[in-house]
């Protein structure tokens, strides 16, 4: 048994093997779709000519994806965006979602229905007690060219509710921070929070919400200043996300803003980790007994993450060891055979809910951290 497998609970091995088989089969199907002349995208069909192997015959498993060169995010900057649309989806309405863009050309990803599917899968992980079907939602975060607003709105609708949305433009926030206009930053945050408070206190029966950590914190504070609380306005389920979602922040939120664990406060919060490329990774349920440790699991087989060595991106680290996050997107809309995320973390073992590798302690990759403006939401 390789060292990396030593921490997998032996009871879990059949489930882990089954998940791996599913991933291998899905990988094969996805590669054939993206590299077949009838269904593939102009980008990948052109890229195929540069490869020293034939994806249609030489990719037989997920591990074979390492034959591809790393996916470069620069490929996503600039157009034409149509080169990413698979021929197999020609004629369908296409969305474009962007990331970055504070300086220079943002990265663009075309999407047809992936954002809906990601959130439908995520929906099935939400506990009904705290995220009751039919309840209304509040989306407090960036919309603009990002997919978040549409995805959360779809989540609400998928669960039979209606979504209220408050926009926050992270590109403007980054500019305010870089200019040192902190008073403007505070005012902008207040402007967003004021709108959220208005919606939550206007009798719309909102029970669930998405909020970025910073905005959730500011919202709780604003509600308390008005003599109420997130619980009193009726919120029972919250999901949030990002590298700012640390164990310490979660503990602060649960213990001090919410007033205790879900069974005491009536509020359940789950973090997510995701991006425009990958979709949405779910979190292992967070517990005070585990020191509020946060572990994310990608929505396999549509996407997969690995924690790889800093000096060899083809080698995963051992369980519990630190490495850089590498992600794979394997949908019929988009194919990413290994993209080095701007994050690092620790490799986590499979567990019953998600019998594949996860990642915990996600934080900006230490070699890039100084160049990143974090916490903009």
């Amino acid at each position: 048994m390789p060292e990396a497998d030593q921490k997998v609970n032996s009871d879990m091995i059949p489930q882990v093997d089954a998940a791996r088989d599913a991933l291998n089969e899905h990988t094969l199907r996805t590669v054939h779709w993206h590299f077949h002349d009838d269904t593939g995208s102009p980008f990948w069909l052109e890229k195929k000519r540069e490869l020293n192997f034939d994806p249609l015959t030489d990719i037989k498993s997920f591990d074979d994806l390492k034959k591809f060169p790393l996916f470069e995010d620069e490929w996503l900057r600039g157009g034409p965006i149509q080169r990413w649309v698979p021929q197999g989806h020609a004629g369908k309405p296409v969305y474009v979602f962007e990331t970055g863009g504070t300086t220079g050309v943002p990265k663009s990803r075309m999407v047809i229905e992936d954002h809906w599917k990601d959130y439908e899968l995520f929906s099935s992980t939400l506990p009904e007690t705290y995220f009751p079907t039919g309840s209304n939602w509040l989306m407090l975060g960036p919309s603009g060219p990002r997919r978040l607003r549409l995805a959360v709105e779809h989540l609400a609708q998928h669960r039979g509710g209606i979504c209220f949305c408050i926009d926050l433009d992270p590109r403007w926030v980054v500019k305010l921070i870089k200019k040192g206009w902190m008073e403007h930053l505070e005012e902008y945050k207040k402007h967003c929070i004021d709108q959220a408070v208005t919606i939550l206190t206007a009798g719309h029966d909102v029970k669930c919400m998405f909020a970025t950590p910073k905005l959730l914190e500011a919202l709780c504070e604003a509600l308390e200043e008005k003599g109420t609380s997130i619980s009193e306005v009726g919120i029972t389920g919250i999901f949030s996300g990002g590298t700012e979602f640390t164990p310490q922040w979660t503990r602060f939120c649960v213990e001090e803003l919410f007033g205790g664990a879900p069974q005491e406060s009536g509020i359940y919060m789950t973090p997510t980790y995701g991006n425009t490329l990958m979709g949405l990774a779910c979190s292992k349920p967070i517990r005070a007994e585990d020191g509020y440790k946060i572990s994310y699991y990608a929505p396999q087989p549509r996407a997969a993450t690995e924690v790889v060595q800093f000096d060899d991106y083809d080698q995963v680290v051992g369980y519990g060891e630190t490495g850089r996050v590498k992600l794979y997107t394997l949908t019929d809309e988009f194919f990413v055979p290994g993209f080095m995320e701007r994050d690092e973390g620790e490799r986590e073992a499979p567990f019953d809910l998600y019998p594949w590798d996860g990642v915990s302690g996600v934080r900006p990759f230490h070699q890039l951290a100084s160049a990143t403006t974090v916490g903009v939401y």
Partner: protein, 473 residues
Amino acid sequence: MITLSPLRWGKPYDSLDFKEVVHFDTGQPIAKVGTVGSGIVGRDMRQAQKARDALLQLTPHDLIARCQKAANLFEQGDLKVGDSTQSVDDFVHQQSASTGLPEHMCRSNMAKNSFVLKNIGHILECLTRGLDLSILSKGYGEEGRGVTVSYQVQTPVLGAILPNNSPGVHTLWLPAVPLQIGLVLKPGSQEPWTPYRMISAFIEAGIPAEAFSLYPGDHDVGGAIMAKSKRSMIFGSAHTVDQHAGNPRVQAHGPGFSKILIGDDVVDDWESHLDMMVESVLSNSGRSCINCSGIWASRHTEAIAKAIAERIGPIDVRPPSDPQAELAAFTVAAMATGTDAMVKQDLAENGVIDMTAEYGEKLIEREYCAYLRPMVVHADSPDRQVATKEYMFPFVSVIKCPQSEMLGRIGSTLVGTLLSRDESLIKAAGNSTDIDRLNVGPIPTNRLNWLQPHEGNLIDFLFRSRAYQIAEF
């Protein structure tokens, strides 16, 4: 390894996030500092009034007596700091190891902080211009002229975003305690030592623990302190100072651009003041805002620069424990290389000469840190870019400038030492809005008189004079 936890109104908080403080020369961890996020600061600040209320339980007189006790504990005692008991020697080693300051400079900064606390009664008497402190405590009172005077406190707590490597500046927030104003501090990431030890001394001396919060953390923590505190001070660059200019809630402390101005009546006798000039440039490894960064005179400037260069140019790096060590390390080596590049740019301008060129390489790079050896440059005119520069190592520009133009050209000057007996020049310097602290006569720029305000009077910052009328009914 010592672990320092955040303090939330005196109560240690078991943080889940830690930052390591490392030894500047070896990179070895020497402390683990628990951090908080801005949310905790915001939440705690709702209770800020309780900090002041706790201090109001004691009279200013009691607090002064306890500050004096704290001064002795800080300077001489074994104190509980974080999860360890810290001796004076531990403190000095730890501070030197993380800031790069030679140990004897750490001891000297420690003495400076302790001195201020020991003499806090006199200092407050001076800062308040002799006001009975019970008037500040009560909010109003009788000053002795049959008139009710009133001072309205502007905040229950003073916030402070403390610097990484200048332990001497902690003297600025210490007087808040006997003024019955709580403290909310964000310690510098490399110099948590002074605030932690000082707060420990305060508490040990019987000052209520709930008056103090210490929040190590990232920039957002500093932002939260400044956003939530009605009065705060911050230490940073010229950019930081500009950013907060005109904001009555913030007292921003940045570079000092302190200078020595030599009048035409004295300049022929410059050699008798050489020691004073050298001390002003060199003390505390040139790191303080009160170090002299410019010497201005109308003649003999090359000779002055050469003489200072002869004294400080040969100074080399010595181990931090060496009592003769004069240079502090740049714990972030890139700051030294960046500074070196900027100085080279200054030197490229015509009319600017490096008077220390013959004393060897200036940039000394080590594995984890770097040093810059002292530099003296001569500029033949105040038009040269270097005339407005200040760097964080012993660096001085000697500027040739006619006396008649001097006060109009010096720009912002935290401490100005004027060497002149010329009454008209002294009067003009006194009227200059560019000079904050004016020393008339041979007083080194780094020598503080603690009975004088430094960079604005803390009393004016924390209290507001106002009308208060009482009628019997």
